[in-house]
């Protein structure tokens, strides 16, 4: 080894050329290389692997058997799949409520009164605690016998509702739990955005007689556009990875009515009774396709904004 390296090092010494000449162009790629390599290995490669596995029947241990499109064919007739898909859509729609809710709390907190920082941190608090803790707190809150929620609706003479045990309310119940931290997140995005709102434009708007809703809609909101965009992105991502809340609060139940695609995939392929890697991969592929719609939309939008900017 050492013998071979020696002449090479001596030979490389005199012509101080290639590396020096290309240093500027190569350096960024070298810095990117570790990140890109891991991204390829742990993100891009598994995506294609999932596509491949979805054509097999495999329990993760024995031989994989090629079954063509049978997994997808089975998905087509699987009620549980449609339930999960429907819940995913509900999640995507209702979760967006975090954006206006966050905006209004931000507007409300954007004032200079005594100890406003304390109030702000209290509102931000749910985002700091773990999703698992949020889920536990809400499952006690919803508890049909001891929970505060039923004490509260009891005041209006409404009977006890087992939110997490009733297939009609369970998904909405979990989304409400998820909205608590998500609203806090959107709020903090808007609070920073509000700092950047130009006071002169507000002043000008006021001179022209704009106030209340019109002021918000035509003067403030356009300036918050970057914050809204980020809030939209993180909320959509949050809705699609709504796994931990479901796992802790209901474990997908009652009878699978609160599952979303990500949870169903986990259950089929990786959970205690799951041994169907191929079927799980097929669900993952469908979920990936749905996400691709959003990813394509964002890429297109970012590309357009870049060109305009």
């Amino acid at each position: 080894m050492a013998d071979a390296a020696l002449p090479l090092a001596q030979g490389a010494q005199p012509p101080r050329g290639w590396w020096k000449r290309n240093q500027q162009t190569l350096a960024p790629w070298l810095f990117l290389a570790p990140g890109a390599a891991f991204f390829l290995l742990y993100v891009i490669f598994p995506i294609f692997q999932s596509f491949q596995v979805s054509f097999y029947e495999w329990d993760g241990l024995g031989e994989a058997e090629y079954v063509g499109l049978r997994n997808y064919d089975e998905l087509w007739y699987d009620d549980a799949f449609y339930t999960s898909l429907k819940n995913n859509v509900i999640w995507l729609v209702l979760y967006l409520a975090a954006i206006p809710a966050g905006l209004f709390i931000a507007l409300f907190l954007n004032q200079k009164v005594f100890a406003i920082r304390l109030y702000k941190s209290l509102f931000f608090f749910p985002f700091v605690i773990s999703q698992v803790v949020v889920a536990l707190v809400f499952s006690w809150f919803y508890d049909p016998t001891f929970g505060l929620f039923n004490e509260f609706i009891g005041l209006f003479g409404l009977g006890p509702i087992a939110v997490l045990g009733d297939e009609r309310y369970v998904t909405v119940g979990i989304i409400m739990a998820g909205l608590w931290p998500q609203t806090a997140y959107c709020m903090i995005l808007y609070l920073t955005g509000l700092n950047a709102v130009d006071p002169e434009q507000i002043e000008a708007g006021r001179l022209d007689g704009a106030k209340g809703w019109r002021m918000l809609w035509y003067v403030v909101l356009p300036q918050l556009k970057p914050a809204t965009f980020i809030a939209f992105v993180v909320t959509i991502i949050g809705a699609l990875r709504s796994f931990d809340l479901i796992s802790v609060m209901t474990n997908g139940g009652p009878f699978g009515e609160s599952r979303v695609l990500a949870f169903y995939m986990f259950e089929v392929a990786l959970s205690e009774y799951g041994f169907r890697m191929g079927y799980g991969a097929a669900i993952a592929v469908i979920l990936f396709m749905i996400m691709m719609i959003y990813i394509a939309f964002f890429l297109w939008k970012m590309y357009r904004d870049e060109r305009e900017g």
């Binding site: 993760g60 024995g62 087992a162 045990g165 139940g253 009878f255 990786l270 009774y273 041994f275």
Partner: protein, 421 residues
């Protein structure tokens, strides 16, 4: 699918045969490393296991034992990884169909040779069947426990009720309990398996052990009229309002307070429920046990008695030491010790062991040894293949909440059955 499994199994068998003679030459004293993976993560069983391993180490001081205790729930998914890569020498698991995927994938070592030793063969005869697949044994049991109805003796006394022996008495008792403003049974079906226990008992009592096992083996359609009869019996209790409300929101532990507070009178559960009930303040005067009553007098009584087991992974490094450890675990003295009330508080698997003097263990032992002539089942999620078990228990939970959906549920289970087997 089956044939592929067989082929890989055969390939693996040749591989182990080739490596066999190499490890067989150092028989006399055990040495080297012994890596043990345990799923006994609760404090009491954990201490028992650690103590047992320490005693084994005293017998073989040259052995360097490394113990790894993994959370019980996490273990169920991790076992798939560690059996295929970096396997320990000994690992805990469960008997019957629950071990089938690993046996068929050739990941568990065939330990039939242990059962040739007369001491083990006679001592472990009762659990041998649960550890047999394709005529070979794949591990040894270390504990098992009875299932049955644990009930509040003081509530029964207050209402003048006695332990029911027949389905009619059971329903009459339940009506009396309901009339006193309580629920008959507490149950938490959030994690599904508790409903599997109810199905097991209702089906074992309605159609018998052999039918239950045929159903588990996929030989009988779920839409069969006899299966429907099981659900019809179940429905009688549901329509009476026998079970606590909102059970789908609770885990089995969260359902305990109903019984402790006297809002529900009984719990169909495994013997592991006794410890938390005692911890919650119920004395042995308030708590008692009865065998699930007869429904169809024409079928022999059969019970659920889940068995927990030790296995040797096929990729283990120190199989000699692992075999010695399994023998030690199953030995009569050790079985008496680890299953006593201070330790696991369950039933020993070795016939030569003695059962600790505990109200519930005595009743359970007597029930299983004299009054379970039909057979002993493991449990719904251990007797049925994983996929069928999952779909089944989900169906049971739905049935308990929406009994009118029964036909739809059974059609769904039937579709799963056609695919799984």
């Amino acid at each position: 699918m089956k044939s592929i499994f067989k082929a890989s199994l055969a390939a693996l068998a040749t591989a182990t045969m080739l490596s066999g003679p190499v490890s067989a030459d150092g028989h006399a004293a055990l040495s080297g490393d012994l890596k043990i993976f345990l799923d006994t993560s609760n404090p009491a069983p954990r201490a028992t296991m650690e103590d047992m391993i320490a005693r084994f180490n005293e017998l073989h001081p040259d052995l360097n034992i490394e113990t790894n205790v993994i959370d019980r729930e996490a273990y169920k998914t991790q076992i798939r990884n560690f059996l295929t890569a970096n396997a320990p020498d000994v690992a805990t698991w469960y008997a019957a169909n629950r071990m089938r995927p690993y046996v068929e994938a050739g990941l568990f070592e065939d330990v039939s040779d242990l059962y040739e030793d007369p001491e083990i063969a006679e001592g472990l005869a009762s659990t041998k069947g649960a550890l047999t697949i394709d005529g070979k044994q794949w591990g040894v049991a270390y504990t098992y426990y009875q299932w049955g109805v644990y009930y509040r003796e003081d509530i029964f006394n207050e209402l003048g009720l006695t332990e029911p022996a027949t389905w009619e008495e059971e329903k009459a008792n339940c009506q009396a309990i309901l009339d006193s403003g309580r629920k008959c049974y507490t149950i938490g079906t959030k994690f599904l398996w508790t409903a599997g226990g109810w199905f097991d008992y209702l089906n074992l009592r309605t159609n018998g052990f052999d039918f239950h096992m045929q159903l588990a083996a996929g030989e009988i359609p779920w839409t069969d009229d006899r299966v429907k009869q099981t659900f019809a019996n179940w429905r009688e209790l549901i329509d009476m309002g026998a079970f606590i409300d909102n059970h789908a929101s609770y885990s089995w532990q969260e359902a305990l307070p109903f019984m402790v507070n006297g809002e529900a009178a009984a719990y169909l559960m495994g013997n592991f429920a006794v410890a938390p009930l005692r911890d919650a303040g119920l004395t042995d005067d308030q708590l008692d046990f009865y065998q699930f009553p007869v429904i169809n007098p024409d079928v022999a009584l059969a019970e659920d008695a889940p068995t927990d087991t030790f296995h040797i992974p096929a990729q283990a490094q120190n199989k000699d030491a692992a075999r010695a450890f399994l023998k030690f675990v199953a030995s009569a003295d050790n079985q008496t010790l680890i299953n006593n009330g201070d330790n696991l508080g369950q039933l020993p698997v070795n016939a030569a062991s003695s059962v600790d003097d505990d109200e519930f263990l005595n009743q359970g032992f007597e029930m299983l040894s004299t009054n379970s002539t039909g057979g002993v089942a493991q449990f719904f999620d251990r007797d049925f293949p994983a996929e069928m078990a999952k779909a089944g228990m989900e169906g049971f939970q739905e049935f308990m909440v929406k009994p009118d959906q029964l036909d739809k549920i059974l059609d769904r289970l039937e579709r799963v059955r056609e695919r799984v087997y």
